[in-house]
Subunit: 342 residues, 3 copies
């Protein structure tokens, strides 16, 4: 067998480190495509001049480009035989990614728990993305349910203790980041960190009807090759499931309208792909301010946000039903820290 | 309200200068996408070598990329509550845009005239795009009909005097531009400035059937976020209106076949989006030579062209009905000056 | 007539050299788009670091980008009035193409044979792509059937002798190429040159359902403007024929799964677009090892592969019917040499 069958639950060992294939050099091309695929307007990720005025050497690539590139590489080793993507935790962006950087990623297996049915199990990995200097640019924990392929004894269950939220003290800022001279007019909205209150909810108003060609372009761009996104003959219903990360980027870009100054994503506390998204769906988004924290960087505050993507027709700010289950219109429930000018 | 409700007619003041948000650094990525989105083949915008042989330091980005980027930034401030885009005038390209340049734009309100119904009014703005050095790269006048949101007294009407045509003396050429050694074989057609006669009409032959994914990619790339282009639930008929600029670029690119040597756009005299364009339409184009002028640049002539985009099935060169109204197949009627080798 | 009517059979002369129009400077933008359009994961074409470890100065653009750019330029002069694209032979990649390079192409007419019906004839051209230094990057022979437009005497038939296969001795390697320290983990698969046997067949498993927007983006990116790919009103059945090169790139990218280490394409021995491909088709691919050869480059072996693209539903490895005709599910049958680590 020359082709990659993917790993099954019994193929993982606690402590094992998997170096994922296909390092990737990124350029202005990835940035242009990101702007074509999503209504991304964050000034820091759009303008070298704006980035320099914020203390960075140039405009970095969107934080979610870094995430998608690092994540995409893990698919052939982690989720090719996954039944479900169960969660994210302890994600932190550790250094900006600039055009010309080369990214690679590796994952350490930090948890294994076979399901009682003996047919699958949960694999926990901590994935780290690194640039060409070996500097970590991102790490996060992800756990997925993976099928078993052979009858093997269940391993001793190891379930890692994961923080529910990345603590503000653990957030990492790019060297030199300074929002003291932040230009709110150029950034697009006047609202600063102090203008947001914990508990506040924002409907981001805009919607985007998604197309097959677009989600496939995006997903391929991250070298994520899971069959279900590309092959209309794969699912019985003939539909191509949209990569969850496409919904993350779409919702984050839509959140510009109301959160234009939540410039940098610095942590991913958690996230759930609540329901599948398909071409033809019109994606909308709303946010809730979950927490706020001061930081040591000049002029910079941290804001913890819940970002929810829904399909058109969802009731305002509706998330779960009475039983605590996500409503069928909810596509994504993401919990992240961003940086804002004070 | 954290989200941007847009400005209404009563929010504009004569003389007011609006700095539009989200400056944008462009790269080879935008150029590659432009070539993927439109059948653009102008040699000056395709090859560094060809551009150097024409006296430029490198191949600039297509003139319409500059236009779209500058225009896109104005949408949240000027046309979010627009009922109609009424016209363009006095547009001039003032400096080429190169990969690595950062563009921003600002608009001065130069005219205001409330409609007699008291429910809307016409806003005239002169928009200027500038690069990172503050050098103007483009300016043009645009007027739009904008809704009123509150009952306010009508302002004193101010309607700017606009030139019907940019005079040839006012055209600006890139420093060093020289077509003396123009390579017609590499450019794709043998026809020089002297080969075109005023009144001549050219059917550009080719057609492109447009897709939802493509016009949305294009429109987002310019950070134009008007809902009507993206959200299939926005209009009652469930159709997404294609950004008028997408039709401009498509028609201009199609006009290569017959006008391959009309290399640079240097002025926009006027333009009308005669009818809406939707996915599934097959766009064709024809041109009419309106005027010609000599220039001071070596080997360079100016040609004034009417560029008409139509839907498949339009009669040859048909534009208006007997009452002077645009025919329903006509999408665009654009009047511009281009530069050609003598 | 200002527009290009294309050449007809009677317009070609043996020995004539046609300089094709519109030179093209390529950048990271073309690379990013290529990764968005095809599931391309070859590490050498993805990572500057990987390319440097293989003795190259940086990651080149995909070999098929070079092919498409060079090929696209020939369309207005060679195949605008073509009835059929009959074959390829003696294709060799002669130098890598890097971001910043400017490509142009020219074709020499090396064969002419009028058909007995007097209505068309076969034109053989040898096309050469060159970079801005005049260095050839690619050459190949292609023959097409072209319509006659006027009644003319048939030219003396000249049919060039073409090699069925580029001999391994004639393969050209980039200066410095060295796979001695090849990182199989980063490349994505452990299988080296020695692991493949002549006669071995590999089903590449994955499939991609193709969309109108995607093939048009791709085809325009190569400035290939043949009407049949873009204009839904051109064919009687309202379908847009997908550019054969889109199928080549799709199949080659899909072949990563099983041939991840067949890194560089160095020769095109032949190829047939067996059946047309349309949007909605799900493209799959399989390969057969046709030959192997040692090379003088350190750590580098050559492998000759048959790459077959099929539509979903094709029987495993089925190619031709009993009469020797391609099965209707077969889209492409390509014969090429690639380089692999020993």
């Amino acid at each position: 067998m020359k082709t990659n069958p993917g790993r099954f639950f019994e193929d993982y060992r606690i402590g094992e480190v998997i170096a994922h294939a296909v390092p990737r050099t990124v350029s202005g091309g990835e940035r242009a495509l990101y702007h074509a695929l999503y209504p991304a307007r964050g000034a820091l990720y759009s303008s070298d001049e704006f980035a320099r005025a914020s203390g960075l050497p140039a405009s970095p690539l969107d934080d979610l480009i870094a995430f998608h590139v690092v994540f995409g590489k893990t698919v052939p080793d982690i989720s090719l035989n996954a039944v479900a993507n169960l969660g994210y935790a302890e994600g932190r962006w550790l250094a900006p990614v600039y055009p010309g950087d080369t990214l690679r990623s590796e994952s350490e297996v930090i948890g294994l728990k076979e399901n009682s049915n003996g047919k699958s199990g949960v694999v926990y990995v901590r994935t780290t993305g690194r640039n060409q200097h070996g500097t970590p640019v991102l790490d996060y924990v992800r756990w997925v349910m993976v099928r078993k392929n052979r009858e093997t004894a269940a391993p001793d269950p190891v379930v890692p203790k994961l923080q529910a939220v990345v603590s503000p003290e653990a957030l990492v800022f790019p060297a030199g980041l300074d929002f003291s001279n932040y230009d709110f007019a150029l950034a697009g909205e006047p609202h600063r960190w102090g203008d947001y209150a914990v508990g506040e909810k924002i409907d981001h108003v805009d919607g985007v009807t998604v197309e097959e060609a677009e989600h496939m372009l995006a997903t391929r761009l991250w070298q994520n090759t899971a069959k279900v996104h590309f092959d209309a003959t794969f699912r019985e219903d003939g539909r191509r499931l949209i990569y969850g990360g496409h919904v993350i980027s779409m919702a984050r870009a839509l959140s510009f309208n109301g959160l234009a100054n939540a410039q940098m994503i610095v942590a991913l506390n958690g996230g759930a792909h609540a329901n599948p998204c398909f071409a033809g769906d019109t994606v909308r988004a709303w946010s809730e301010v979950l927490d706020k924290a001061e930081t040591a960087a000049p002029g910079v505050g941290a804001i913890r946000l819940r970002l929810v993507a829904v399909k058109s027709g969802a009731a305002p700010f509706a998330l779960r039903d009475e039983a605590g289950k996500y409503l069928p219109e909810v596509l994504l429930d993401l919990d992240y820290w961003a940086l804002m000018p004070l």
